[in-house]
């Protein structure tokens, strides 16, 4: 059997693939954070909670309203996105002129409230969401058994990530968004409704998190704490990629998934910390992040 550094090739390949799938989650979540930070300069600590709400919307939608997985893929992000817009309109807007720290504290507080209230009703053991029938089972790939659902997660996440990147970097709407954050007063003078644009952007960012939540529902137990466990890692990914860099968030997300996957083979004890080691290195050598522009 071919070995790579003492690990059979088959196991090695399997781990790479799994790492990539986890990386797809990191990419989706850090993309939403990067969009919100890049365009609104809000450090959105409620992002993990939005991911969790996406998963809960999926679960409760099925339990009480009979909404199936495929409908939830659209409806849950829509609902959470609208909820996010309300938060932006009612709360975040009022502190827009203050230091970033206030936005961070406010969103962190919101996250604790959402999590705490759901823990009160549902506990932390989590509930299971069934894998949609179409995606049950898996493929025998030669080096591993790949569940269909995980392949679908990778595909869906990558498509959504690159569509988002294209929209922001290559379309007219994206150009408005970028211009509106660069110089809001001037854009307003041209007749563009900048506050509306900001609300929509925040809504879109959290909808991306909710979309990741829907994808996660059949994979992990749906529990109120599922977001906070992931959020810190995702922030590290954003810092490594460069705060606010769209492409940076996507590429770094996938890359960190891979690095984490390899760590799980060679030194599993460090699997939870390896991303932070990379973050420290990046901060020392390139403080603006791998894809960030020097301020």
């Amino acid at each position: 059997m071919t070995m790579i550094f003492g690990v059979p090739l088959a196991v090695f390949m399997g781990q790479l693939l799994l790492g990539l799938i986890n990386g797809a989650f990191y990419a989706l979540l850090s993309l939403g954070l990067a969009v919100i930070f890049g365009l609104l300069k809000i450090v959105n600590f409620a992002h993990g909670a939005m991911y969790m709400l996406g998963a809960f919307a999926t679960l409760l939608g099925m339990r009480y309203l009979g909404i199936n997985y495929w409908a939830a893929l659209f409806l849950a992000p829509l609902a959470v996105g609208l909820f996010g817009m309300v938060i932006e309109r009612v709360l975040l807007r009022r502190i827009g002129h203050l230091d970033h720290l206030y936005g961070l504290l406010l969103t962190f507080g919101l996250a604790l409230i959402f999590e705490g209230s759901l823990v009160n009703f549902f506990g932390v053991s989590g509930a299971r969401y069934p894998t949609p029938e179409l995606l049950q089972g898996g493929y025998q790939t030669g080096f591993m058994f790949l569940p269909k659902y995980r392949a679908w997660v990778l595909l869906a996440a990558v498509v959504v990530c690159f569509a988002t990147w294209y929209m922001i970097e290559r379309t007219r709407l994206g150009a408005y968004l970028r211009a509106g954050t660069e110089n809001p007063a001037l854009m307003q003078a041209f007749g563009v409704n900048v506050p509306l644009l900001v609300t929509l952007t925040y809504g879109f960012g959290v909808a991306l998190a909710a979309f990741a939540g829907v994808l996660a529902a059949p994979l992990y137990p749906v529990s109120p704490t599922m977001g906070s466990n992931l959020l810190i890692v995702v922030f590290a990914v954003v810092v490594i990629g460069g705060m606010g860099s769209i492409l940076g968030a996507i590429v770094t997300g996938l890359a960190m998934g891979l690095i984490e996957g390899l760590t799980k083979v060679y030194y599993p004890e460090a699997a939870n910390t390896v991303i932070f080691l990379v973050m420290i290195l990046v901060l020392l050598l390139r403080p603006a992040g791998l894809f960030g522009k020097e301020a």
């Binding site: 799994l18 506990g123 053991s125 299971r128 994979l219």
Partner: protein, 406 residues
């Protein structure tokens, strides 16, 4: 100066009143029995002890009548967030500012080991109900704590032995990388080898972990017949779910959940867990006495109690009875009395506290029911056999505890 004099004068006045009150109530220090409940109230281990355990503690106090020999029983609680530092500091604060008499709960083994050191330094008493590590009454034993519900030794003795006896000879261990996981892994490996099996590999995962796919893949690659899960709570749930996604059981491997709680089985559902063998210290539906208590608990909490929550009630009752009988809340006086009294209640059968602080009682080997065999949502286990108290736990002759003369 006037201020200082006044404060001093009033402190003396308060102290005198307090002293008079105490004198009236025999030896119960400062006129009240104070119980501090320390547990994970919000994280991975919340549902197996957490707020439900606090409610069980309150039930015990209410059933006892709310006071001992006229001294009121006070309860306060804190969330240790599964952090040894937070847990130890909380307990230290309870001694410094709140005169805690007994520390209850104590869930994550790492927290318990740190907290019992503080309890020992302060000459207090702790009753450990949630933790699993057998080292708590072995190398980490103190004269100041008692370990109530279960530990990793009977878990291994029950589940691992039963599985090897059924022909599961080669094992791959998936271990939570901290005190409890290491203790369970050690105990299971020993039992597997003694029963004629072999541990062919293993991996230690960080605590807590959401994504087990990588570890499950390694376990599949090992070719072992049995994948032993030396973890607990949400980690076990995640590992079992991931294994079912990767078709582990269909491919011919079998999972062994070495520490599975009632709430875990409930969360995963019988479709995923049916047939799972497990060892438990108590099950709510095992007889009339258990059912009667469990139903009262269910009325208040809305879910059936785990063995830990039941154990918190049982141990608190035993403690309060000892305080009443001795008329004292002094740790050693109470502990000695507790050790002299056999324990036989809805929770413990043939129970007694040994000199190492281990409360030994009958344990049970159970199998998770199939969805067809289950008659309602909490009808989850079938009890197969009971493991007698004296066989279930580590014999004192093998003990490394400083309190045991070997």
């Amino acid at each position: 100066m006037t201020f200082i004099r006044k404060t001093l004068a009033s402190s003396i006045a308060i102290a005198t009143t307090a002293a008079m009150a105490t004198a009236a109530q025999a030896e119960i220090s400062d006129g009240a029995v104070r119980i501090g409940y320390l547990a994970d109230m919000s994280g991975t281990y919340r549902d197996l002890a957490g707020p439900g355990g606090l409610e069980a503690l309150r039930m015990a106090i209410e059933d006892f009548g709310g006071s001992v020999n006229g001294a009121p029983i006070e309860v306060f609680s804190a969330d240790d967030r599964n952090s040894a530092d937070v847990g130890a500091n909380t307990v230290r604060e309870w001694y410094d500012t709140r005169n805690v008499d007994m520390v209850a709960g104590l869930v994550a083994s790492s927290v318990t080991i740190a907290a019992t050191k503080v309890i020992e330094e302060n000459g207090g008493l702790g009753i450990v109900s949630g933790s699993a590590a057998s080292s708590i009454t072995n190398e980490h034993c103190t004269p100041n704590h008692i370990h109530w519900v279960y530990d990793t030794y009977p878990l291994a003795n029950g589940t691992a032995k039963a599985i090897v006896d059924q022909g599961g000879n080669s094992w791959f261990m998936l271990t939570a990388d901290y005190a409890f996981g290491h203790a369970l892994e050690g105990d299971v490996s020993r039992v597997v080898q003694e029963s004629g099996g072999e541990v062919v590999g293993g991996v230690r995962h960080p605590f807590p972990t959401d994504d087990f796919s990588s570890y499950i893949l390694q376990a599949q690659g090992s070719g072992a017949e049995i994948i032993g899960l030396a973890n607990a709570g949400a980690d076990t749930v995640n590992a079992i779910n991931t294994a079912s996604q990767f078709g582990v059981v269909e491919a011919g491997q079998q999972l062994a959940g070495l520490l599975v709680f009632l709430n875990d089985v409930y969360a995963m559902g019988l479709d995923t867990t049916q047939g799972l063998l497990l060892t438990t210290g108590w099950y709510w539906n095992m007889d009339d006495e258990s059912r009667e208590w469990a139903e009262r608990y269910y009325e208040r909490v809305g879910s059936m109690p785990t063995m830990v929550q039941a154990g918190i009630y049982s141990s608190t009752m035993h403690y309060l009875e000892a305080v009443q009988a001795t008329g004292s809340d002094d740790a050693q006086t109470v502990r000695e009395h507790m050790m002299r009294q056999p324990i036989h209640d809805f929770f413990a059968r043939n129970g007694r506290i040994r000199e190492d602080g281990r409360m030994v009682h009958d344990m049970y080997l159970a199998r998770v029911k199939s969805p067809d065999a289950s008659t309602h949502e909490w009808d989850l286990y079938e009890i197969l056999t009971s493991i007698p108290a004296e066989e279930a736990y580590r014999p004192l002759s093998e003990s490394q505890c400083k309190l045991v003369q070997n």
